[in-house]
Amino acid sequence: MDESLGMLGVPLAVLGGALRVSPPYLFVSLGECLTEKSGRVNLGLEGTLVMGAMSAYGVSYLSGSAWLGVLAAGGVGVLLGALHAWLCARQRVNDIAIGIALMLLGVGTAFFLGKPLIKPTAPRLPAFELGAWSDSPPLRAALEVNVLFAIGIALAFALRFALNRTRVGLLLRVAGESADSARAMGYDVLRIRAYATALGGFFAGIGGSFLSLYYPGSWNEGLSSGQGLMAVALVIFARWDPVRCLWASLLFGAAGALGPALQSVGVTGGYHLLNAAPYILTLAIMIATSSARRTLPGQPAELVSAR
């Protein structure tokens, strides 16, 4: 096989892009999915993502271990999620406002603390080389699947299993479907939502660690392209099911890879428009799924009613 694959290169590049770019979408949407299933919306995951990216890079650089960085990112995510939950448990507090506030807090803190991290390079995460059998560098590059992504795939299936088949999952769903019923059964709805939000933050932090430790693989202030906010649309698109979040993340990743892929075969027209593909997709989904007349199937009932 020769170096240039011609037009075949475009779908390959899109596939490669999807595999490479979707893990942050995946982890953040899984986290948001859990949080929303419990009846609360966390709009601060963008801040958690960026803080996670920064802490992962910092810890990885200081300790020499990328996985330790991932854990640190998760820890930071738990803290931010717990903060969101604690604030939202107060009387008369609006989840949406808190989410946005924490997003700004997370992003600002990360940029401030991360200034010393812009120059140094830190150890990166490993990947499975699924394309090792090929001689073609583009093919090999496209089929590199990061270990974290593999973990994410397993996680999506595990979460779906847990939501349907474990006691914890059932309780989480009740808190999100009918807080009154949960309370009548004697469960503490606020506590359940707190755990769900903290766990959601954990996943979002890990999603952030992928950005700084694999692709793009360094720390700087333009690292995130808004994955944390898009995850909210993604969860709606996936109708609150973890495995559908996986497919939706791949779709968003593919949309994000479309611009560079076309550019690589020489199609340079409309560059900015194509790079806007994920955002256009988000907007299209939000428009298509909102309606003055009907509620969304699969939506946890508690998300609709007043807090």
């Binding site: 474990t166 059932l170 009740v174 479907e177 009918s178 019923s181 009548a184 004697g186 009907r294 946890p300």
Partner: protein
Amino acid sequence: MSDLANGPSGTRPPALRAIGLRKTFGAFTALDDVSLELRPGSVHALLGENGAGKSTLVKCIMGYHRPDQGRILLDDREVTPRNPREAQALGLGMVYQHFTLVPNMTVAENLVLSRAQLPFLIDWAAERAALARFVATMPFAVELDATVRSLAAGEKQRLEILKQLYLQSRIVILDEPTSVLTSGEAEELLSLLRGMSSAGQISVLMITHKFREVLGFADEVTVLRRGRMAGSGQVKALTPSRMAEMMMGSAAPLESTRAPAAAVGDCRLRVAALTADDDVGVPALRGVSFDVRAGEIVGIAAVAGNGQEELVEVLAGQRLRSQGDVHVHGEPYFARREQLHRHRVRCLPEEPLRNACVPNMSVAENMAFRSFDRPPFARAGFALSHGAIRASADGLQREYGIRAPSMGSPIGQLSGGNVQRAVLARELRGEVDVLIAANPCMGLDFAAVAEIHARIRKARDQGAAVLLVSADLDEVLALADRVLVMSEGQVVHETTPETADVTLMGKYMAGHAA
């Protein structure tokens, strides 16, 4: 799952006694020296007006509240449940007025969820097999995989009771269990409970305000008034008027007799082939047509969830129709504000606090919603005159007897009956050509009910065309001149109160065409 015929230890349910219970909330005394005895295997009715303390009494027994004084004994052993789960462990179970089922989950999931001890990993196949075995011992069937949202109110109520039996409650407390059921379903439910208690499986404590149920199904009755005991005894020894007297403290006002309708005039409201979807996009209203003429009350009897809520929402302008027409005074009608004024259409939606009021705004402001944009409330077309609004509200408060801390306090603080009075006052102000009322008396005590019925009749006598939508067949038959039955989004039966066959109507309402 043990054999439920005789309970886990093969004995009868425990005897429940509440002695001298007293409960205060701040300065308000909800219960004062109330005692109750529930004999094993009996059905005991708890009667009283709204606010008499029935719910408080039952909540003390169930562990929601701790009584300030008094004792609760089960089989002569004192118990102090600190929360409903402890009460459940003692064998006390409660079926609430508002369902505590999770609508988006299945029957099986709801039942399994209600258990106190859940295993970490749920083996659904085994659980469903166990549930199927349990349900087989019950006198009625439920479909384990149906979502609760798709069940009718009667089925949900039966599921709530099933849940209690599944949890092995020996004493089942019910709060107005038949308020959302048709008379046929109510009969079935109460006979079922009666049968199970006679067989010694359970004892039943039932909160109700319907004398018919007390007379037909209860062994003993306790009457509360303003937190105190106003009487108790064997049902055999009491009559409805005696019970009413105990509830009200004086001879109860008689339900006013049906006044003969004045001459019926021209057609004011015409609905033709009206079709509309519900919130999830499923057709709820499937081609409904009827007329309402001046000076008559057309009653639509339907069980909750058969399209009548959507009908009222379309007429009130809260929901878009997908097909069909509405004409008022012969003109196409879309419930726009200008049309509402011109055609003098008034609406009393159900759950007025949610549908006709803004809870955080004051009573006076809420009562001005119909005409705040016109003189005398608005000067020069836009400046509100709060003085005029307040004066009007004060006048209406006196006329309608609305009890509120003040007309400036938020309407959300008022009790249900007073909210309804406030909304009525607003809607019946001035001349009324068309009045649409939906479940106007839900949850109100019978003094308020009699008052509201009288006002609706008065509006009719003054020439309004009245459309009354209600789930309470008694109310429809008492007020309406013509009766329509709706089921599954269509009008399935038409009759008049004089010629109505209640059993047949109940069948139509439940969806079984005769």
